[in-house]
Amino acid sequence: MIVGIPKGLLYYKYYPFFMTFFKELGLEVVISPDTNKGILDEGVKYCVDDACLPLKIFHGHVAVLKDKCDIILIPRIMQVRNREYICPKFCGLPEMIQNSIPQMPRIIDKPIYAGTRKKLYSWAKDIGRLITKDKSKIKRAFNFALIEQDKYKPGYNDNNQGLTVALVGHPYNIFDKYINKNIVQKLNKLGVGVITEEFIEETLIDEEVKGLYKRPFWTFARNSYGFAANVYREKRVNGIIYISSFACGIDSVVIELIKERIGNFPFMTLKIDEHTGEAGLDTRVEAFVDMLGRGVI
């Protein structure tokens, strides 16, 4: 049996877990290619119009993958941390896909609660049972998968250049180079290093979040806000760039919270959708860097 994993949304954060888990169960795993124009076009074609760009792109990945596998993972990720949730769009993702893309293969859509190891294991048991009756094999696959996931350290931590910026945003906006138009490379070329939330310890992020009048409901919000507030307070960077999805509700709240926290500290939002032109984005990035370098040459 071949299982397909679309390279979209939280793939960038959690692919070692899913890939290892299915491989250890003896399945062949296929992954869609890096996002490209063809995938975006497919996504725009199938996905409802008012969705955010990452969702459209996810649809595109599913569309190019669906005929290459017998079963496809549409991760209905509900939770990756206790008492916090992921964007509501993730909860309905399998339904969105099934209603929009015709002739889908079988899908894995069981809700994933990854707040604790135990909860995640209950997902693994149920999915494993579809594939094998051997309980110990499932358990072993699950353990291996967690080990691989632990080893995986995505993110950027480069403060060896003249200037450093914090790149804030949802993981897919940071790691999908097609979405962000290779912003890390662009910044590097301009002599700017990039750091991302993965390199600020959880406890420090928690510390910052305590200052909010209410505990954030969404994990993305917690991470983005906590990260931005920390790099600002500890002066780890010269400026902050927030990559935001057009039409994302979480972003619109978090951006305001961050702005309130950091006052006049250099901050720029790059709102991205399928119409975002590369030239306009370049202009903004260059002007921001000029500004940080106290830029009037």
Partner: protein
């Protein structure tokens, strides 16, 4: 000693020639009409005919077509529009704290503190308030665009127009016309609406302090200028060369780099008679499938644009 600045935007291409005091000797405005190469060459022809034997000691390019323009002319500096506009304004007055820039198709705000850019925002999505939109409304009301702003000054009562979006603004204007309001009051209402729209979008959350410079083509419109003054409660200054400030900034930056390097890359005004050709091809080396444009000058390739990875644009530069 002269310095040249070129600002290639989607609507217009502006060229300026500065003397050694950075004063404008010549400014040229050409419609880009989708062909930046032709527009730049046209500008060069005018310059060459008028200033046959001058020597240009430094050149800069800015605007959305800055990369192509830079390759074309051999620019010493290639800078984004924000920095260029800021440099030009600061050259006139170090005390400027805010720049409002409204051009043909986009608008920006630049916040300066102590002679340094401290914040900015751009709007390239909404057409309301940009030059193209005003052109269209002037045409619809059958008023020459040059007189459009003066109409607003003749009105004492502004009609309230919905300015949040170009489409709504237009249909609201039509509606008000049908109700019998006079043109002057409607135009004044429109100016107020566009200024409101600008302040609530581009200017959102920005601390607009005087001195404020109003730059870009739309600054010619007195109706908009006074609407800004009404909304802000203080004077808004329109600099003399308001419509070519980007090009001026580029020229100054080009001069600075050329002086630092002790030489200029500028290829000369004779460029006007070069034959430029561009062809495009789809790169199939990876799944991005970029549409790459290759530029030839007199059959020699001088640059490539449009590749996301830089493999084409870097290659030719090395030659």
């Amino acid at each position: 000693m002269y310095y040249l600045g070129v600002d290639v935007g989607s609507v217009s291409t502006n060229l300026v020639l500065l003397d050694k005091n950075n004063s404008v000797v010549e400014k040229i405005y050409i419609r880009t009409k989708g062909s930046p190469i032709k527009a730049v060459q046209e500008g060069f022809k005018i310059l060459r005919d008028k200033y046959d034997n001058i020597k240009v000691y430094g050149a800069g390019a800015t605007g959305s077509g800055r990369h192509i323009a830079a390759t074309l002319i051999g620019a010493d500096a290639v800078k984004n529009e924000i920095t260029s506009h800021a440099v030009a304004a600061l050259e006139i007055d170090r005390e400027v704290k805010t720049i409002i820039e409204i051009g043909g198709q986009d608008s920006k705000i630049i916040i300066l503190r102590n002679g340094v850019v401290s914040d900015f925002a751009m709007n390239t999505v909404c057409a309301a308030g940009t030059g193209s939109f005003l052109d269209r409304q002037a045409e619809r009301l059958d008023i020459p665009i040059e007189e459009f702003g003066d109409y607003a000054l003749n009105s004492n009562i502004a009609v309230r127009i919905a300015g949040r979006c170009a489409v709504f603004a237009e249909s609201d204007m039509i509606h008000k016309q049908q109700l019998g309001y006079n043109k002057a009051d409607i135009i004044k209402g429109l100016c107020d609406a566009l200024v409101r729209n600008y302040l609530n979008n581009v200017g959102k959350g920005k601390e607009i302090l005087p001195k404020v410079f109003f730059q870009g083509g739309v600054a010619a419109n007195k109706g908009i200028k006074t609407a800004f003054e009404r909304a802000l409660g203080f004077e808004v200054i329109v600099p003399k060369d308001y419509n070519v400030m980007g090009a001026i900034g580029a020229a100054i930056l080009g001069r600075e780099i050329a002086e630092k390097e002790g030489k200029t890359n500028f290829k000369g005004l004779d460029l006007a008679s070069s034959i430029f050709e561009s062809n495009s091809f789809e790169c199939t080396d990876c799944s991005n499938r970029c549409e790459v444009v290759k530029l030839h000058e007199n059959n020699r390739s001088i640059g490539c644009f449009g590749d996301r990875c830089g493999k084409w644009s870097n290659r030719v530069k090395a030659i």
